[in-house]
Symmetry: C2
Subunit: 325 residues, 2 copies
């Protein structure tokens, strides 16, 4: 299976290194909007200009689009879905129906197959929500995120005057998770589900009280949460907070029995050292599935809901029935 | 969707009560090898003789086979797979390839669709193993069962001379699960993964030391485990141990990055008050999927690996993309 990587940030590098663990995958090249000469890949795979992508139409089975959801993917995925089988990790939940419709139209017109919103949320967490709600129709589900770095919240802190650098961890509230796991189906406010822990490097002489106040009162990002601000040195930030860990849990509890007398809890959890590398690993498994579905003649846009688990595995049907069932 | 229930034990009753939560399902009837007049259903659905099943060929979309894996399903599923779209919960892992082949042949000859081995293990746990191994190819997975009642082990104790009744709980060893969750990939012996806790009602005057010795030294069932035997009264057994709880966890940890420098842990866990009712709920969701796949013309044997998540949900593609992705 021949893969192209379109966009070479953390996610693109994750796809490149995932090829090491997926021996049925060959990476044809990285496509960048930067000067290709300025980009050095981890494993020496060739770098091409994004503007040359169409000359690779016959050389790539699946093109993995490694752009951001805010501005890149809403343009790139529909633009390329008519030319290649593509996968993206579009994660702006509220805009998924619109994105799906645009990608579906482009892919159908070009006779290609596209998978949008692959990764872990949306992605594996979405599947966990679907399985759990299908097998426990009478119930309630909860998604907790973290402990993990939120890039968006870290960026929001960095924009505050007097801040040199910052990392923000989203942390699920242990008591809330405990109550959910016990099947208590609590009503939880935003504040009761997650807290936010910030590590901030301030400019020398900056007013730390003002910076802290600006963080904890920031609407949408922090005001609805219990937020802790820790001022640390640049050395401490680099030493202790340079990773990109993340994770979380999807938990559904529900009842069965004629009188709803039996409770059940289904939980799917991830604990990730590297958010982009794990996301890339998920995407690569879906690239395998998309390549197989395309070979069967399927076209249009799909999501993770439409992919049978068997199509993600390098093993044959016989092997997975014998070893994993 | 019209469902038939073939076999009316705990699982059959679970399917019947699951219909309450799945309003797109109508149960046509229960089919029993006992005298139908001797069987009273929970919700008053009609009871027919199993020998009349073929006269319902045009009245049932999916027939759910609620028999045991030891002797019932190896005969019943291939015998009926040519006549109906069927689902079973065949769970003898080692014999799945043989069972699959026989059911596949029968279903293809009859132009019908069959799903074998639905439930939670095999079933949802199998899917968890497949997703986790596909997204983390370099890793190791573990399945822990319990805390839960094992019918097979409880039965084995009941066959000991001097035992009136017994319940056996399979209990995962907390330290082992902790080490796995931390990504330590330990090598675990059978004894290190699970322990067995027995509640036994002995006949008056029976030799309790002999009974305990016979339990803890029983080959295959108990000898390889740390086993605790508690003698209790029949009243205590009925009061405290009459439920059928079960559950467990599939945990895989694996690495990404060019040097395998990042670790990740994927966990899927179930905590079930009623093993048969939850299993039945899973089967009913797969009945929905089988009915849809059959309507699209698919035939032959399938497993849970072959079913796209979307086909299990009563919601439309638009709805699941908008609400669950």
């Amino acid at each position: 299976m021949k893969i192209g990587i379109y966009g070479y940030g953390n996610l693109g590098r994750g796809v490149e290194s995932a090829a090491k663990y997926n021996t049925d995958i060959e990476i044809v090249g990285v496509f960048t909007r930067r000067d290709p000469k300025s980009v050095a890949t981890l494993t020496g795979i060739p770098v091409y200009s994004a503007s040359d992508i169409l000359s690779f139409k016959d050389k790539i089975d699946v093109l993995i689009l490694c752009g951001g959801s805010a501005t890149d993917l809403p343009e790139i995925t529909p633009a390329l879905a008519g030319e290649f089988n593509v996968i993206d990790s579009f994660d702006t939940h509220a805009k998924i129906p619109e994105h799906f419709a645009r990608v579906d139209k482009a892919a159908r017109e070009g006779g290609k197959l596209a998978l949008i919103s692959a990764g872990w949320d949306p992605g594996l967490f979405s599947i966990a929500r679907l399985y759990a709600s299908s097998v426990l129709p009478s119930g309630k589900d909860y998604t907790f995120w973290g402990k993990g770095i939120s890039q968006g919240h870290s960026d929001a802190i960095r924009r505050i005057n007097g801040v040199l650098d910052a990392r923000q961890y989203t942390v699920p509230v242990a008591e809330a998770m405990g109550a959910v796991r016990e099947g208590k189906c609590p009503e939880l406010s935003t504040r009761e589900k997650h807290e936010r822990v910030c590590y901030v490097v301030a400019k020398e002489g900056a007013d730390l009280q003002r910076i802290e106040r600006e963080i904890v009162t920031m609407p949408n990002y922090f005001a609805d949460y219990n937020t802790t601000v820790n001022f640390i040195s640049m050395e401490e930030l680099k030493r202790d907070h340079s990773g990109m860990p993340h994770g979380g849990s999807v938990i559904r509890s529900g009842v069965t029995g004629l009188a709803g007398e039996h409770s059940h809890t289904v939980e799917f959890s991830l604990k990730l050292d590297s958010n982009p590398e794990f996301t890339a690993s998920v995407i690569v498994a879906y690239a395998r599935a998309i390549s197989r579905l395309a070979a069967r003649g399927e076209i249009g846009a799909k999501t993770v809901f439409d992919i049978a688990p068997a199509d993600m595995s390098p093993m044959s049907g016989e092997e997975i029935r014998a070893h994993l069932l």
